[in-house]
Symmetry: C2
Subunit: 342 residues, 2 copies
């Protein structure tokens, strides 16, 4: 079928036009669904029952240099990040990553030292979170492609899914937002900032940290009803929990990083916009049973983290920001890489 004919049949959109989320919908519709799947399609990870109430937890996420690696990021950092972004999804579910496999697509002109740098980055990303790389494969490709898949096991009932938020729960996050978004704006659009500020913001992009300790502590507290990481931005994460739990949110404060406020003020940007609609950030966004709030907070603090309440779960399906008595909707806008900006 030629392109014209395909377009007439309504099949003519290109994958570039469809975008990542609609492509995933197209794919899912064609996949038979495993019976008794412990985790719904569309959550941060996949899982398979292995008996005795336990599940194997699996996650695959691919990094492509052309669209996912901003200029200035080293191969070591890119490879490390390819692992860390998968670990972050495990963190959000409260699952310890055990082993990773890596499929590498390598351009022909990559040097041996580049391959070594990639290998060291992968190893660092895994070992930092207690996992090991146990296998994989390589092949030739036009882009540098780093496809990581991660494995761990968990008790099924200990998994923190996107779908359990209840009206009245407290919504909370593990840190301040906006640094990665500011860092990317800095790298891609060339804003002027002080050296110190630049270092903090760029480091958020080049050296992301997964909140694994926090996620494991939160899972252990049994106080969490829903959880997601914020790799597509805070706003998107809230809408995702809302959609999968059938609830809404009233957000009373958005924890914007101090450095982001400085960056935004200096460059005439909106700090709240950066914090809400950024992305490539790896904080956890969770809903907590109000009666167990102290348990959740204590558990996270015991591992050196913090849990910041930002609002409440509501009956309506909207995500609303209320500041000084004024309410405005937080949009379901997210982050589909930064390719459109390059």
């Amino acid at each position: 079928m030629g392109k014209v004919k395909a377009q007439k049949a309504g099949l003519g959109e290109t994958s570039g036009e469809l975008g990542e989320r609609r492509i995933i919908e197209v794919l899912r519709k064609r996949f038979d669904v495993m019976p008794d799947l412990p985790v719904l399609f569309g959550d941060d990870v996949s899982a398979v029952s292995v008996g005795d109430g336990r599940v194997a937890v699996l996650k695959a996420d691919m990094l492509v240099d052309k669209t996912d690696v901003p200029r200035g990021m080293s191969l070591w950092q890119a490879a490390r990040k390819a692992v860390v972004m998968n670990v972050s999804d495990f963190a959000a579910k409260g699952v310890e990553p055990k082993a990773a496999l890596v499929s590498l697509g390598l351009p022909r002109n990559l040097l041996r030292k580049d391959v070594e740098e990639i290998a060291r980055g992968l190893n660092t990303g895994a070992r930092q979170y207690g996992a090991y790389i146990v296998g994989g494969d390589t092949g030739e490709a036009s882009d540098l492609v780093i496809a990581v898949s991660l494995f761990g096991t968990a008790e099924k009932k200990a998994l923190m899914l996107r779908s359990g938020a209840k009206v009245g729960d407290i919504v909370a996050v593990t840190g301040f937002f906006g640094k990665s978004a500011a860092g990317l704006r800095l790298l891609l659009d060339g804003f002027a900032v002080s050296k110190e500020l630049r270092e903090v913001l760029v480091s958020a992009v080049f050296m992301p940290q997964a909140r694994l300790k926090e996620g494991l502590a939160l899972s252990g507290s049994r106080a969490v009803t829903a959880s997601i990481d914020s790799s597509d931005g805070l706003a998107w994460s809230l809408h995702e929990i809302g959609r999968m739990s059938g609830v809404g949110f009233l957000v009373s404060s958005v924890p914007v990083a101090h450095e982001v406020k400085c960056f935004a003020e200096f460059n005439g940007l909106d700090a709240l916009e950066l914090a809400l609609y950024g992305g490539e950030e790896y904080e956890l966004v969770v809903t907590v049973k109000p009666k167990l709030w102290v348990d959740a907070e204590t558990a996270v603090e015991a591992v050196g983290g913090r849990l910041l309440p930002i609002g409440k779960v509501t009956r309506g399906k909207q995500v609303i920001l209320e500041v000084d008595g004024k309410k405005c909707p937080i949009e379901a806008r997210g982050w589909e890489h930064f390719k459109s900006k390059i």
Copy 2:
């Protein structure tokens, strides 16, 4: 470090010059090794202990259209093959695949119908062998990249590794060789053949079948001491078992497919060469305890397959072919895709 400086430091080879196998060596050296790893690096699959003598079995293998998909192969076939080549590795270890994750790198101009075709191919490849696709991700890439990772569980002691062959064991295969190699020569170099022959040979390339039933039956028979699939060619598979088991082989017959003999004769090619040094073939190559030969053969025949003895495991480290009393070495040549031929 610039290219010249890197070359002086001995790091200047490009990945194209290094080739797939040496790249994997470079990577492995930089990875910390998980303690008590149940399966050595370099076997067909990876594994992680999950307690009670059981292991999680993992495999990742990536298909890139530019190097792995010959002209004439449909997207549906390519996607199906991306799953089947992973299933074949599970087959060689005697492990049932349960779930697959798929990371897709999609060129921007791919149409929605193409994405649907890929999805259907992936689903068919998984369902044909009882597995389900349970997750994955997509992103933009210059090539079509299909990275599949496969998961299953097994008893650790039931795994058929590459490393257990003993002197005196019978070496056997699950089918006849050379069809994929002949099919690829046909597709890439344009040899002339009859329509019927063409169909058989091209189908071997476009619609590979994993010997999963045979692998599971062989594992169940407990008669197998070592096993590998033949995706890099029969010669390479024998050398790999030899290397990892510390043995050699005396091969007394190479089962060359009838169609390959016809193809070779008609085109003045060496049928034995195609059968030994081909690749992209998914037969199993196993070593069997002589006393349990009948058990192994019966188990494979009970699932509709066949087990063809081709020789013996020997003390020497060489792989020797003996025909009509004449001995010649089978070289450790293999198959690193067909990119060099395009």
